[in-house]
């Protein structure tokens, strides 16, 4: 490869990686956490009663309808969720319309139902796992469109970083494993290479699919020029683009008998192999009233996506959507599924999560390399001060984001249930603790910050199961007894991450004389 080309690709790799590095780190960590969104939801709503035996679906439907008729009498959309692999709950949710008289806003409401007697359970207001994972593209405190554009720009820079990284290390692919020869020397560069090259298929997939998911906003100018401007045109574009190939069939059922009960029955008979997860009643009370059913996401990367029951003329019609009309739309959907990983079983899900963490590690070690290189070529005192500032903020963010996520979990247990805006304050506490971590790193002595932050992270994670034990009735023992695998898994995982942080803290302590903050690019005589 021509040396000048390699040099310019190196330059490009450094700067595209650096500009949005911290934001990309935040996106990768919150996104990775999102693969366990359901499990986090379960932990953050400890009042929910889990279902661990076989239930009578029609019975569940009856209690659900009973509650919905009382609570959501004039709501146009009802949903009933059945126990699924990763959410073993019975739930109802509905769209609450805005009411100017009682001053209620338009909002989604939900209730968890107790499987033993069908009564409604009071669950604490929380953003849960869903809000946490949504931070990775909605960000926070900014309008959604701004967040989408920022995230798209970050993802674009990420893609350029990845491709230039591949170009620079072209040799790595010709000799797959031989780049890993430098033992002990250039430790940070080696780790950066491990985190980047080995999960490379994942990184490329996740970045490109992420760009695709937001392309409606980032490339909206294309829609403007070729289809039409304005919200109405854009919405029509999306509808047409996402059009499914539908199979339609008429049922033997008379239209008057189309109800939740009959839909459940028919779906159970027709799709014996698939597990029903949701029934929706939409446009309720209008002429276009219809029923939607969904199946447990777990079923595969391509399966029956959605089924609709509606009244057409004098008959009941069922409409099954299996795939998209457009070929490009099919490819888009494939990438969408790959990104979201909803089809993944526990094995693939952990691999998704670990790959995401490796990606976060790739970004973090990249930032460290940037700092180390600049410290090596230290020049004017202004520049030295600037690099030190970056270094401190870097530690604050790399360890601070995991700490902030743990604080989000802590706040879920500590903020009083009676507080009305507690879900908002959970997210506030995430960002407040992140700022606190960065500030901490700005004032502490430079040689201590890695060690102290790692120990802080270790304690905040290891104490989570203890906090759980003291603030709810869920202890490790009780979770085992009740077969509450989601609660148990979460508590054990937090313990595990805490131990990892503790081990890192001990390792850093041992190296404290040489220090991670000193120049490790100089070969050491061992």
């Amino acid at each position: 490869m021509k040396p000048r080309f390699r040099q310019s690709m190196n330059w490009l790799h450094t700067w595209t990686g650096f500009i949005f590095g911290w934001m990309l780190y935040f996106i990768f960590v919150t996104g990775s956490v999102g693969y366990f969104e359901n499990e986090i939801d379960r932990w953050m709503k400890p009042e929910m009663t889990i279902v661990n035996q076989v239930i009578d679906e029609q019975q569940v439907l009856k209690s659900a309808e009973y509650h919905l008729n009382i609570l959501a009498a004039d709501s146009p959309e009802w949903y009933i969720s059945f126990p699924a692999a990763r959410s073993p709950f019975i739930g109802i949710s509905w769209l609450q319309l805005a009411n100017s008289e009682t001053n209620t806003p338009r909002a989604w409401q939900e209730k968890n139902l107790n499987p033993s007697d069908g009564s409604a359970v009071d669950v604490r207001e929380t953003g849960g796992g869903r809000t946490l994972y949504r931070l990775h593209y909605n960000l926070h405190y900014v309008p959604k469109v701004v967040a989408y554009i920022l995230t798209s720009v970050a993802a674009m820079l990420m893609l350029i970083s990845l491709i230039t990284g591949v170009i620079i290390h072209k040799k790595i692919f010709i000799e797959f494993f031989t780049f890993r020869s430098k033992k002990g020397l250039r430790a940070w560069l080696d780790i950066h290479n491990i985190f980047s090259v080995l999960p490379l298929p994942f990184h490329l997939m996740i970045t490109y699919s992420g760009l695709l998911l937001l392309m409606g906003i980032s490339m909206s100018t294309v829609i403007d020029t070729t289809y039409g401007e304005g919200r109405k045109n854009h919405n029509q574009f999306y509808k047409t683009a996402h059009l499914d190939i539908k199979e339609r069939q008429f049922l033997e059922l008379p239209p008057s008998e189309l109800s939740l009960k009959s839909v459940l029955e028919d779906a159970g008979n027709r799709f014996k192999k698939q597990k029903l997860s949701y029934i929706g009643l939409k446009s309720r009370g209008t002429k276009g009233e219809h029923y939607d059913i969904w199946f447990d996401d777990f079923e595969g990367i391509k399966s029956v996506s959605s089924v609709e029951y509606r009244v057409k003329g004098q008959q009941v019609e069922i409409e099954v959507s299996r795939s998209k009309v457009g070929k490009a739309a099919s490819v888009y959907e494939f990438f969408e599924h790959l990104h979201e990983g909803l089809f993944a079983d526990i094995y693939l899900r952990w691999l998704y999560f670990i790959s995401g963490l490796l990606g976060s590690g790739m970004i973090a070690t990249g930032m460290v390399l940037w700092i180390l290189k600049r410290q090596k070529n230290a020049g004017k005192p202004n520049k030295i001060k600037f690099v030190e500032l970056i270094e401190r903020i870097n530690v604050g963010i790399i360890i601070g984001v995991p700490i902030a996520i743990a604080v989000y979990f802590w706040s879920n247990r500590l903020i009083p249930i009676s507080q009305v805006t507690r879900d908002e304050w959970e997210v506030h506490s995430l960002f407040i603790s992140l700022i606190a971590c960065i500030s901490f790193c700005l004032i502490r002595p430079k040689q201590n910050i890695w060690k102290e932050m790692l120990w802080l992270a270790a304690s905040v994670y290891m104490l989570l199961p203890v906090l759980n034990m003291f603030t709810t009735e869920h202890t490790l023992i009780s979770s085992i007894q009740k077969s509450d695998s989601l609660m148990l898994g979460f508590d054990l995982s937090m313990l595990f991450f805490g131990i990892c942080f503790a081990i890192s803290g001990i390792t850093v302590n041992k190296k404290s004389t040489k220090g991670i903050t000193t120049n490790n690019l100089v070969p050491s005589p061992n």
């Binding site: 000799e175 797959f176 494993f177 031989t178 890993r180 020869s181 033992k183 080696d190 491990i194 080995l198 999960p199 490379l200 298929p201 994942f202 595969g300 990367i301 391509k302 494939f334 790959l338 089809f343 079983d345 094995y347 693939l348 691999l351 998704y352 670990i354 790959s355 490796l358």
Partner: protein
């Protein structure tokens, strides 16, 4: 399928692990790390390692496709490849001696 899904996943991991290990040992740089530095990688050994290695990779890909279909099978294959490559890289860097039994077997 006779085997349950967890068993198939473990089978996939094992096939890819052995396959990639043999392939990496067919490179003289890794071969010399794993064995005594004195032992050189003979041409015959290299070809044998590569042949078996690539065959195992291909077999695992075919099994993946048969069990899960091309799309999901591809995901399982690539995901397991990344897992195996990471574990193997760590072993090769920090504990290459763990693999020293393999060249002995081929060096009869």
């Amino acid at each position: 399928m006779i085997f349950s899904e967890p068993v198939l996943i473990i089978l996939l991991i094992l096939l890819l692990m052995v396959g990639f290990t043999l392939l990496s040992l067919s490179l003289s740089r890794h071969y010399s790390h794993v064995t005594d530095k004195r032992q050189r990688l003979a041409n015959k050994t290299k070809l044998l390692l590569r042949f078996i290695g690539y065959s195992l990779l291909i077999i695992s890909a075919i099994i993946s496709e048969k069990v899960w279909g091309i799309a999901l099978g591809g995901v399982y294959w690539f995901a397991t490849t990344m897992l195996v490559a990471t574990v193997l890289s760590i072993i090769l860097t920090y504990k290459p001696r763990w693999l020293s039994f393999i060249p002995l077997y081929f060096h009869r």
